[in-house]
Amino acid sequence: MDDSQSTEFDISTNSSNPKTLPTRRNYQAIEARDPHDLGVWDLRISDDKLQWFSKAFGPPDRDVISWKLQEFVHCARPTLLAPRAIFKDVRSDVADRDWLCYCGVPSCAFHAQSGTRRQPWPNSVMLVYVNESREVFKFEWVEADRSEPHLPVDHETRFGERLL
């Protein structure tokens, strides 16, 4: 087992959650807001994930830069550093795990066909998911709540707890 895998965090206590993470081969370190004290801490994303973003999301013209990779750089990373909300326990068939979800409305999105910058999708918010090992594994646009347009639809039932 990689030493870094022992750094899984308990969201309830700050002492076991260092701001920094040991470097790990084939992963990139990125900064995000620490929900404990709203300082900045390290998260990671795998090279494999960034390569998937790069290769699978774009038009047939392979010279057009992946919109998904551009949105990770220009939309997801800013959301991690300046979220509107942070939720804990992303609910799925596996009961309440210590996963985090950062939520925000970035200032732009990117066209798939041209790779160019555009206005963010209307009535949408961006969610960025982080697992218990502080690894970003997914981000996506989802429909916004009608009464609270800065939050995702069904946010009351999708998450166990709101941290910010």
Binding site: A29, D42, D48, D93, E140
Partner: protein, 139 residues
């Protein structure tokens, strides 16, 4: 100072390299198992999408303007398969082998739902995955 702050140039260099290279040729539908999130992502095209949660297992990717289904993700997929093999002894699914036909997983998942609209979404997904075989090892 965080490692990310110190290593920011490393991230930037990695992403810049990815952006400077032509994207590899890809044949849709395509799937990707995400070990960190224990979820399986399926794409029918590389277009923009908005994610819509169908149930605890499936989220579909819908084009924000046309409404076309672009793809889907299946969450907690290993856990789902473990439950499936426990509940249906005849459905032996070997994860360590060459892979699992996605249409079989979608059929099994479909019959957990009693909602006709959701079942129709499952049927559309199943029809569009063709003979896609998914593996659960990181690429």
């Amino acid at each position: 100072m965080t490692n990310a702050k110190q290593d920011g140039t490393q991230f930037d260099a990695f992403v810049t390299t990815l952006m400077s290279e032509p994207r590899p040729e890809i044949s849709y539908p395509v799937s990707h198992y995400d070990e960190e999130g224990n979820c399986l992502e399926i794409l029918f095209s590389g277009d923009n999408y908005q994610a819509r949660r169908i149930d605890n297992l499936v989220t579909i990717y819908v084009h924000p303007e046309s409404g076309e289904i672009i793809g889907a993700s299946l969450k907690s997929i290993r856990t789902f398969i473990d439950r499936l093999t426990n509940e249906i002894p005849g459905a032996k699914i070997d994860l360590s082998g060459a892979g699992v036909r996605l249409e079989y997983l979608l059929t099994a998942a479909m019959w957990r739902s009693k909602d006709r609209d959701k079942i129709e979404i499952y049927i559309e997904l199943r029809d569009r995955v063709d003979n896609l075989v998914v593996t659960f090892c990181p690429a």
